[in-house]
Each structure stands twice: as C-alpha cells, then as structure tokens.
Symmetry: C2
Subunit: 566 residues, 2 copies
C-alpha cells in the first residue's frame, strides 16, 4: 500500500476518557474513532488489524472442523422467553421494538438462536457432533462502557456452539476447541494463559478462559511456576496446608481493645503479624447469619463462599443492624469464641490450622488472645474460602502459585443440557429415542484482541504489534524523494519487490519530514522499517530497524529479505 | 469439503410465504432459515455463497482505490437530527433506546456516520478525493418483509462514500465506481444493465441503478436495442414524435355515451384504437387542479408528473368530490374541450400530435369526437408525462426501446453537498478557504445478489449458479462406495487432486442413493458434477455432467481437468 493512497490520521491529543494505553494508542494511531459511548468506527488502519485477527480465528476454527454460518444480530423476544433470559440477562440486553411493536434484542450472544436452528436442523444422532460458528457483530449495553474497544458496547465476536449426544463427545470437541484457541493465540504472537474458570450460574462441567497477560488487565489469575496449572483467581483452589494444627500452648484471655477494629489495628496493638489473627465475617445465610473465618492476611473468595450449602447462592455481608441483633456487637469485634450456637462457623483451610490466635471478643472493644479451635471455639466445617496468594502451593501438587493480571479474550464452556433442555432441542439416538442434546460454547472477542495485544506490548513511541497482527509487516520510508528521483525510484523498486514476494508493505510516500514519518511508523507499530536515502544508495545499503530495537543498522537488500524470511 | 463433515440440509417442503423462485430454492437448498419476519440465518451453505459475492465486491472496490473501514451499526439520534432524517426517514428506521434512555437507530445506511467521520478526519483538499467503504450489516424495518433475503430487514450491504472538492473530481470517482460495479457484476456472471435512475428528493446530478435482469424483478427498465442506453422506467424519456400534428379534418361533435367510462369502453363504443383516444387526469396542483392529457394507450409516469412546476412535488389524483366541485362532472367524462380556464392543461408529447381525437365531454355521459388541439381545446404546455413503451425510439437516437424487469443490486449516486452541508463537513482549499465537500455514495446489496442470481438462473431441479458464486465448482459423487473400496479410493484420489489444483470441490461421501445425491447436487446448483462408479472405473472414465446440460458424458480424468481449466 502506498500511504498517499491510504487514510492514515495519527493524532497528538488523546481524549480524557482514554484511560489505558491501548485506548490511548488506538486513538493516537487513528485506528478507532468514537461515534458515541461504547461505539467505535474502525478506521482503515484499525480494520486491517481486525481483519488479520479475524482471518487467523477463521482458519483455525475451520481446521478444527467447525462450520461457519451467520445468524441475525436482531433476535425475537419469544426465543429469549423460552430460556428465561429475556428478564434474567439484565440491563446489558439491548431491547428493541419494531414498527409493529414486536419486541427484539440486539444479540449479545447467540445460544438461543443457534439452539433454535439446531432443533430444526438436527434430527438424528448421526448428525452429531457438530460445531457451528460465526464471526459477527454483537451488542452489550454496558452500564459503563470504557477502555475503547476493550469494553465497547458494539463489538466483533467469534462465537461457536457445538452439539452432542454424549458427554464424552462434548469433552472431545471441548478439547479440540481448547487446542484451536491455543493455536490461535500462539499464532497471533500473544503471551497468554488458559485458566480454569468458574462455571457460574450455568453450571456445566468445565470452563476455561484464555487470558492475554497484561499488567493493566481487569482479571486476576493464578498460575503455577512448576506446571501448566492456571486458574482465574475466583476459581483457583487454596489447598489445605500440609501441616496440621499445633496443640494449644496459650491460655484464652479477653483483652480490652478500644478503637482496635481492623486486622491492621490488631497487628499493631498486639505486635503480631496478620497470619496470627483470625477474622470473622458474618454473611447472610439461608437461615440466619453464617460466620466465615479466615486468616487475617487472607481475603475472602466470594465465588467460593457463594457456593456454600448454607448460603443462598451468593455471599452478602450482613448489615451492622443484623449483626447487632444476632450477636449484640459491632462488626469489628466478631469472633468464633462464644458466638451464638445457631450461627454456623465455616472456617477456611488455612485458618483452621491456626493455634493461639487473636480474634474478636464478641463484645464491643474487646479481643481474645490465645484462642484455639475446639478448645475455645467450635468449627462447623472446614472449607476453601479464600483467594489464593503468590507463594501458595499449586493445587496440582507441582510448583508454587504466581499471580498475574490478564485480559480475557476467549472462553470455552461446557454448557451441558441447559439451553437444549429449555428449547427442547432433541435428536433421536440409535434406539430411536429422543435425547436432549448437550452443548458447548466457545467465544473469542475479536475486536478486544487488538486492544489486548497493545496492552501487552507497547512503549513510549507507540504500539509494538506482533507480526501476525500488524497492519503491514514492513514500512519503506524515503528521505527527501522530491529532490532525489533516484531515491524515489529505489524506494519504488524495493516496494515492488517486497510486494511481489508477498510481504505486506507500506510505502510512506507522503513526503513528510523523516522525524514525522518515523514517529508515525513507530506509533502504528510496524515491525520492520527500512529507510531509503541518498547516502544509503551511495553505500549500497538500507537503514533497517526492527520496531523492538533501539538502533538502526545498515544492511543490504538481500540481508533485508533474509530478516523478513526468518 | 467432504459433505459428511459439512451441514447440508435440503428440504422438500417450502413455507407458504415463499412466493418467488429464489426464496423457495434458498429454503429448499437449505441456504437460509427464517428466524423471524425479515430475519434470516445464513446456513453454512448459504454463507459460502455470500462470502464469494463479498470477496468479489471487496477485490474490485480495493482495485478501484476505495479504502475499507467499518462503522458501527448502532447510530446516535443526534447525528440523524443534524440531517433531519430522524423524522424524514420514516418507518424503515429502527429506533432504539438504550438503558440510559438515549436514542439510537440500527443504521439503514451510513451517510450521517461517514460524514461525521469525514468532518473530523479530513481537513485539507490535499486529502481529497477519498472513497471509504464498508461491508456491513444493515437493518431496514420494512413494513412488509418478503421474498426471503431479497427484501429482508437485516441484510448485508457494501456501502461506499466518496468526498471531493470539485464536481469534476466527484464525476471521476463516480465513473470509477460505475466501472467497478460493471466489473463486479460481470465477474459474478450476472446478466445486468446499468440504468439511469431518478435522483428523487435528494437531487444531485447523476444516479445509476445496476439491475440484474429477471422476469420476477420488481423494477421495470427500458433499454435500447441499438445502443447502451438504459434507464429505470421512472426515468426513461419518451421522446417527442418525429411527425408534427396533422391538421384537423373532422368537426367537433358531442355524443351521448352513457356507461362509457374507461378508455376500453370508448374504443369499443366508437370502434377505434386507444391511440385515437385522449385521456385526461385531474391532479392536485399547488393552486387548484391541473389537467394531464395522455394518449389512451399510454400510462402516466408519476415521477415525471411530480416534477411539473404546477405540482407540489408529487402527483396525486383529485378526488371525485374535488372534480365535481371544479368541473361539475364525474371523472370518466373529463376532457380538455371547454375545461374551466383556471385549470392548466399539460399535454404529453405523444398526445399533443393527435388530431380528430375522442375525449371526455366535460358533462356526465358524453364524449366529444373530432376534437382537435388549438381549434377546440387549449394547450398550456407540452411535456414528457408518460411511461415509455416497447417500440418507442431510444432517447439517445439509436435504436428502439425494449422493456425488461430487473432486480436492483447496486446503486451509484452523486449526492452533491446535501449531507456535507447539513453536517458542515468542510476542508480548506488551496486558498486556505473553507469549502463544503461534495459526496458520492455507492451501494451494493451483497445478500440480495445471491437471491437475484437465482431468480435469473434456475430450473425445475434447482439453482444454477454462475461459477464464481457457486458454493463449490465441482461435486464428486460416488456410487455405492461401501461395497466397492476401490471406488471410494478413486473418488478420494480425484477429490484430493482437484483440491490440490485449487479447484473448490465437494465430495458427497454421505453414502446416499445416487438419485438423492444427484438431486441434492442439482438443487444446490453445483456447476460441474462427476460420478465415480465401478463401471466407470473399469472403463477408465468418469461420468460428467454440467449443471446446464441435460445429459451426462463419459470423460477421462484429463478431460475433466481441461473442462475445469476452460
């Protein structure tokens, strides 16, 4: 592409709402332009990147045997009523009334539509397994759209849905999708982790998120330094400590502790570390309050807590009033010693091996020291309640956990029979008997990947694209071509030869000054830059610089082709 | 593609709402499935065709120098208010309220959004001309969606918008787009005509529709048998007759004609042909009624009439009451003789050369015979008021007009300054002065093309695809492979070789009976079919049949490759 025949519009100013690097750089590079809150136009430059991502996704989906189709973006309310999601999906569902007052939504996902398609198209187990996918525009009416295309309302997604007669078959396709996703993100040149994810309200047997690692990521993940284990923080298991609980060695003492409310206050007051403090949270259970006990240096994992049998599916802290009514004390001074007998005491695995700990005194402005389980306080049950922390042993027994931040770009999920059951999507099995199908679903945020790649790799000068996502692999820059026709001719011949070799090249023939030209090429992240100049021509060399390098080097044309072949 | 690994689902029954051949065949072939009124899922088979059309459109747009981008489908009300189209666009505009009660529409077209993009991105005449395009999903809330994807609500469109400083530049890009469209429809293997179209309310200087010729088309076009002239019927000029008006030879006579109301009644009553009858329509003018006079065998062209200075921009027939009040007579008996003097009499060119004609008597149940212009009836002005008919001379002076039906699949339009002015989209010219840009817009109905191709070419057995649009070029069918492993192996080897040569091939390895297999391949319109059978293997031949042929022939493998290379 000759840049004079393209529309490149880099800008210096970044709008105040661009908080993260990828949003700022996509605006500065002119990849996207905001139309309205959460709605972005992809400029010609941005679209080149988007299409590269799309092409890799499509190739690998096809290679994995998935079959591409295209469903409407506008979906009728009736289908969403069948699964109950018309109401349950919440505010993200953009509802629409047409001119005849019929209700529709702008599809945020396509489980309903594809299952409706499948129940009409699939009649026999012989047609299974089958895996349909599409690459299509979706809309989620985010309450607070932000971070540019990272959390836009309208976005491009690849969504696949597989149908099965047996769990074994679902497992096979799930594995195939897992492998395809691994190939996709590897081919795109991203550093990523596939992490075990919580299956949430849908249930189902397995779920992995594919997370691009980036410090600015919204998700937190834990991964082992000694194995392939990785999980979303919500899901990562905090294994039971190897050591068992020591015997009590101190006597229980009630101590006056006015104004000592937080764990930090306690550590200061008693001159101890937080791992000797027990904190007790009172949450709303199905029948009255429930006490959750953790070590002072640990945090509650609300997803794990929400799954406790005593809780109604979510973990919600009791209010001060509820606590006062049940225990007669302010929140800062709760503890398991002497807690009313109708309150179950669920203790985290790490907290359960504490001895001689400090905890709330169940009376205002008091704490206990030298408290011990069994002797002083009952345990209803020991459970995994906490977030893992760096240094925890990996749940698979190999290595130690590390914590990283990530951006979710893909998700594979075994849905099981949830949607097929709701929509009565059945096939006849080999006995001629109707069977509800099992389903998997597999999403990739195509437009988000572009932003995630930038979050993962950029510098002060701009974007650093992995080669497979770059708008062009090579930029040919020309110094002062107007006054040096031979330089212009040399640049043109180089451009032609690169193009003829199938190497996507942009020739900056706009006639800008070198500084402005180089700044643009760095900002938009072209992996390889070559400069054609009079001096170089005389010496028979080109000035080459990789986007990741800090210095240029003089190389011959043949050396350039070698670099690009490598 | 091995068909056993694809999802082909042909059906026998066609829903009652499928009125036209393409709709019926797309359902029968399993290309599309209805989700709701005007909303269709493209099955894997259908999508293959859609993507082929899309690819040709993209290649030719790029070749013509247009630059691809991608705009949101959801557009804010504010922009549409700036052009006044939020109200004016009418019921086809699907309006949406988001969770914050902000108003949007699902874009039926993108003039507003692209002009907003351009006013922010384009600052200098040096950036012009520029031509942006996208291939993107649109929504028009048709009051009566029908004909499948031909008039769907959600559809895939290529829309391009060009920006210019001068009319000359606009004309150049317009011509380039005209040529690109010609290449696109030629490459797709369609019989089409580029016809002059009315520029309607937008005004502007030029507009052509690209019409795929098909008897079932909704549009009527006129084209010359002696030149390239072609126009939408609305737009086609009826040139003035070469002969001038003969002198009167008969005397004016008023005749009682009870129950003789229509032109047909008149011809029967008087034993004359309709081209000797003058019919007079009274329409609502800006100041009272206006009379429009045509030959009895001609039809009014309402677009032409609507442009008369006396009319308010559209041509609406006066009611019986208005006519009674103004002329004192029932509609069937109006004529120009003795019409009240305040009613202008606009006469069609062909009607103006009549002599001794029959017309209404301006009194109930009477007609005049022997009527003549000037002598008996005044002419305010002669105009082109009528639809052309087959046999009319071509307006360009070359050949005779023919009438055909067509399906509009493309439209190029010189918008002029309408949108740029409304949105204040300006650039600085070479004098540093702000200039409102001129615009062109260029649309192609990508999804409609698939249906139009079927309307143009199909038979009782099914679709006959032009090769460039076919889901696959070749179908390899195998007879009884389970009992003949060598036949299976031969089919596989043929399939492999075709694929290796880059010839898109589908191998029907589903194990169906020959009849069912052949019927499917004919229904889905594969251009070339080869059958591998035990008998053929023994003879060293394949059974070949082109989709357009009525008989098969035995050919060698090499002969097959020759056919496919041709």
């Amino acid at each position: 592409m000759r840049l004079s025949q393209f529309h490149l519009a880099t800008v210096k100013e970044v709008p105040a709402d661009a908080e993260i690097a990828s949003h700022q750089l996509m605006i500065r590079a002119g990849m996207i332009r905001k139309l309205a809150s959460g709605l972005y136009t992809w400029s010609p430059l941005g679209l080149r990147v988007l299409r590269k991502v799309e092409a890799v996704v499509r190739e690998e989906m096809n290679r994995a045997g998935a079959i591409e189709m295209l469903m409407p973006s506008v979906q009728p309310r009736e289908l969403w009523e069948e699964t109950g999601r018309w109401e349950k999906f919440g505010g993200q569902l953009l509802k629409i009334k047409d001119r005849k007052e019929q209700e529709f939504c702008y599809g945020p996902t396509h489980e309903e539509v594809v299952t409706d398609f499948a129940r009409n198209e699939l009649k026999s187990y012989k047609q299974l397994p089958i895996n349909f996918y599409q690459i299509q525009t979706k809309f989620r009416d985010e309450i607070r759209p932000r971070f540019g295309v990272m959390r836009a309302r309208e976005f491009l997604m690849k969504d696949a849905y597989s149908f099965h007669l047996t769990q074994e078959s679902l497992g096979e396709t799930y594995d195939a999708m897992y492998q395809a996703y691994t190939r996709i993100f590897t081919r795109l040149g991203l550093k990523f982790r596939a992490v075990q994810a919580d299956t949430g309200a849908i249930g189902g047997n397995a779920s992995h998120e594919f997370q691009v690692l980036a410090d600015s990521g919204e998700d937190v993940l834990a991964f082992s330094d000694g194995s392939e284990y990785a999980a979303n923080l919500e899901k990562a298991e905090a294994v039971a400590p190897a050591l068992s609980r020591p015997a009590p060695s101190a006597a229980l003492q009630r101590v006056d502790t006015p104004r000592v409310r937080t764990v930090e206050d306690v550590t200061k007051h008693f001159g101890i570390t937080a791992d000797h403090v027990l904190k007790t949270l009172l949450v709303r259970g199905k029948d009255g309050l429930v006490a959750l006990c953790l070590r002072g240096d640990h945090e509650i994992n609300e997803v794990k807590a929400g799954k406790l049998a005593e809780l109604p599916g979510e973990s919600v802290l009791a209010s001060d009033e509820e606590i006062l009514a049940a225990v007669g004390v302010r929140p800062g001074f709760i503890g398991p010693v002497g807690l009313p007998g109708n309150i179950p005491v669920i203790v985290d695995r790490s907290a359960a091996v504490l001895a001689d700990f400090v905890c709330g005194g169940n009376a205002n402005d008091t704490h206990y020291t030298g408290a011990n389980w069994e002797r002083d306080a009952r345990i209803t049950r020991v459970e995994d309640l906490r977030q893992v922390v760096a240094g925890d042993p990996s749940p698979d027994g190999h290595g130690t956990l590390r914590i990283a931040r990530g951006i979710e770009v893909g998700h594979v999920f075994q849905l099981g029979s949830k949607y097929a059951e709701a929509l009565n999507a059945t096939v006849l099995d080999d006995q001629g008997k109707k069977q509800v199908m099992l389903m998997g679903c597999y999403g990739i945020g195509v437009s988000r990947i572009a932003a995630a790649a930038i979050e993962q790799c950029h510098d002060d000068a701009g974007i650093i694209w992995p080669e497979p996502m770059a708008p062009w692999r090579v930029a040919v820059c020309v110094i002062n071509p107007k006054n040096a026709p031979d330089v212009h001719a040399a640049a043109e011949s180089l451009y032609d030869e690169l193009s003829a070799r199938g190497i996507e090249t942009v020739w900056d023939d706009r006639g800008l000054r070198p500084g402005a030209m180089f700044a643009d090429m760095e900002l938009i992240g072209i992996p390889h830059r070559v400069v054609v100049s009079e001096r170089g021509l005389a010496a028979g060399t080109l000035e080459y610089r990789a986007r990741t390098a800090s210095e240029s080097s003089a190389i011959t044309r043949d050396e350039l082709f070698e670099i690009l072949a490598g």
